[in-house]
């Protein structure tokens, strides 16, 4: 059984206030740990909401483990979801919360859930837990399903660095135990960088960039040199962004071969810089209708 964990084709979602997601096509490979990056309001939560059947697509389709999550609630038995702000029933105790998950799921590994939930006493009321404990309880509910796909929506947003590290440790243990594919939505690139091997960048409701982190970092370079009229540079596939400062010109480029031109100094780029460059839509060469002349760079 090799159902793709998550596959979206032309997926779009419109709310009353406008489009939250537009023409989103992406594939999450099996066993990947995917960082879903993008600024606030980029459509990350919407995408996850669509993936767990909380939302109905306006257009296009999304398949989770081969099923339509909106129509087929059965899908959710193999999908773990940690919603933003980790909503839990405050009046229940930790033990009762785990019991809630047991009775509402046909597959439930209570031992795994409690094992991962170290140092949270089970008779304590949820309302009295710290943000970190609440996040870990929420995560243990998701992992107790032994999910094939685990989706986390801004899990680090409310956590201090220590709690964040504990959460991350638990996440890694859980992923090791369940071998699930993971999607972590976060607007903080540093949080994603620590764990993710894949990146999907959303901005303004559209996918701007997706791929393996190493591959993306390996094919993008910063070129710095004297300001000059641009011609073709050998090895450069696309210019993602150009910036002039004084007499200096800096280009972010996607390469298809090593850039050996000695008039450019070639530097590697950090992931956060790369994502930032792709986020800003006005500086993007739109692949479908490139501006004639200026931004066409083929090596």
């Amino acid at each position: 059984m090799a159902d793709t964990p998550l596959e979206a084709v032309g997926l779009a979602k419109r709310f009353r206030r406008g489009w939250a997601l537009r023409d989103c096509t992406l594939t999450i490979p099996e066993h990947a740990i995917v960082g879903l990056a993008g600024p606030n309001g980029a459509g990350k939560s919407t995408l996850l909401g669509l993936a767990v059947g909380l939302l109905e697509p306006t257009a296009g389709s999304i398949a989770v483990l081969g099923n339509d999550p909106w129509r087929d609630a059965q899908t959710l038995s193999r999908v773990g979801y940690v919603p933003q702000d980790a909503p839990l029933y405050r009046s229940l105790t930790v033990a009762e919360t785990l019991e809630f998950a047991r009775v509402t799921n046909e597959q439930w590994d209570g031992d795994l859930a409690s094992e991962l939930l170290l140092r949270v006493r089970s008779e304590v009321k949820v309302a009295t837990l710290t943000a970190g404990e609440r996040a870990r309880l929420s995560l243990s509910l998701a992992l107790g399903k032994r999910p094939a796909l685990l989706l986390l929506d801004e899990p680090f947003a409310k956590l201090d660095p220590l709690a964040g590290r504990e959460f991350l440790g638990m996440l890694m243990d859980g992923v090791a135990a369940t071998e699930s594919t993971v999607v972590i939505a976060s607007h903080v690139v540093a949080d994603l960088e620590r764990v993710c091997d894949h990146i999907v960048l959303l901005s303004d409701g559209a996918v701007r960039l997706q791929g393996n982190v190493d591959e993306l970092l390996g094919t993008h370079r910063l070129l710095t040199g004297a300001r000059r009229p641009l011609g073709t540079i050998h090895g450069v596939e696309t210019v993602v962004r150009e910036r002039h400062s004084g007499r200096q010109l800096t280009l972010l480029v996607r390469t298809n071969a090593p850039v050996l031109d000695p008039t450019w100094s070639v530097d590697e780029i950090r992931l956060d810089e790369l994502l930032l460059a792709y986020m800003a839509p006005e500086r993007l060469p739109t692949p479908r209708s490139p501006e004639p002349g200026r931004l066409r760079w083929h090596g």
Binding site: L55, A73, Q74, Y81, P83, L92, F100, N105, K145
Partner: protein, 315 residues
């Protein structure tokens, strides 16, 4: 499942238990003097209400002594339905407000089963609470019912099986409003308005016609004896059965007074009759069954609406 739901809503369940306990205590305490007076006044010798001489005095003594207590039960009868609204409206609306629907709806249980389980547990609790209140009210009102019957709304609405039916309907309407509006306070407001409309609409428009009413006729303007029935209409008609307007009645009385003849005899001589239209007391349980049935059906409709909506509600 039921256990977890009970844990989740333990506050509401405790509240219902507290209402029943309070009602039982209040009923018992307030009923003691009424029952004592009932026997002291030797009311039972005048029952069923008769025109035996002196009985009307005994009855009116008793009624005036407890003229405040009687109507109080009417207000108390609102409690189960109100409590049900307060439980029903937040049931789903609060999940939206706290975001916990995103937790509940992403487990592998379907939204419908989730809502159905919650509803079932709370419906049973609500029905039991309201049934207890209805039974208590019925016991409390025994002395009054012996005199006045149980068909008039003051007694009918607070006794028997309609009380749980009202409460279950209020619960379902509250749940539907909560699913549709997704906010507790608006849901409560709308549910309250809708329930009051349903309740009054059924009482005023439908209940008088569950069975064809009975009639009693007396010559002249003396009222036929219908002490324990639910009187729907009480009018004077001509010998041909045409209704006589109140102004014409007044004119006739004035005319009789001027002529110094007895108004009663004068009208009887005119062929006027007084006709009372009423629902007899012995139809009490039939009417209770019909009205309870209506509200159970309304509850099922509201619940079906909520289940349909919850499946389609994006979040």
């Amino acid at each position: 499942m039921a256990w977890v739901i009970a844990r989740q809503h333990r506050l509401q369940l405790f509240g219902m238990a507290a209402i029943v306990a309070f009602a039982a205590l209040a009923t018992l305490v307030s009923s003691l003097p009424i029952r004592a007076a009932y026997h002291r006044h030797a009311l039972s010798s005048c029952l069923p209400p008769t025109s035996r001489s002196g009985c009307d005095l005994i009855v009116s003594h008793f009624q005036s002594q407890f003229s405040v207590a009687g109507p109080l039960t009417r207000y108390f009868a609102l409690v189960p339905a109100l409590a049900a609204l307060f439980v029903g409206a937040p049931l789903v609306a609060r999940e939206f407000e706290h975001g916990t629907h995103r937790l509940a709806w992403t487990q592998s249980i379907t939204r419908r089963r989730w809502l159905l389980s919650k509803t079932l547990v709370l419906t049973i609790a609500t029905a039991l609470t309201a049934a207890a209140i209805g039974a208590l009210a019925m016991w409390w009102r025994q002395p009054f019912d012996a005199l006045e019957g149980r068909m008039s709304p003051a007694a009918f609405d607070v006794e028997g099986i309609v009380v749980p039916a009202y409460a279950v309907c209020a619960l379902a309407v509250g749940i539907l409003a909560g699913v549709a509006l997704r906010r507790t306070v608006p849901a409560m407001t709308v549910a309250l308005a809708a329930f009051v409309l349903l309740r009054l609409g059924v009482e005023k428009l439908l209940r008088p016609h569950y069975l064809a009413p009975a009639h009693q006729t007396a010559a002249g303007i003396a009222r036929p004896p219908v002490p324990r029935e639910w009187v729907l209409d009480d009018e004077l008609v001509t010998s041909t059965g045409r209704q006589i307007s109140t102004s014409l009645q007044d004119q006739a009385i004035v005319h009789a007074q001027r002529a110094q003849i007895d108004a009663q005899q004068y009208m009887a001589a005119l062929g006027w009759r007084r006709v009372v239209t009423y629902q007899p007391e012995e139809r009490f349980w039939t009417f209770q069954a019909i009205e309870a049935g209506i509200f159970v059906v309304l509850a099922l409709l509201a619940l079906a609406g909520a289940l349909w909506l919850v499946r389609r509600t994006p979040s």
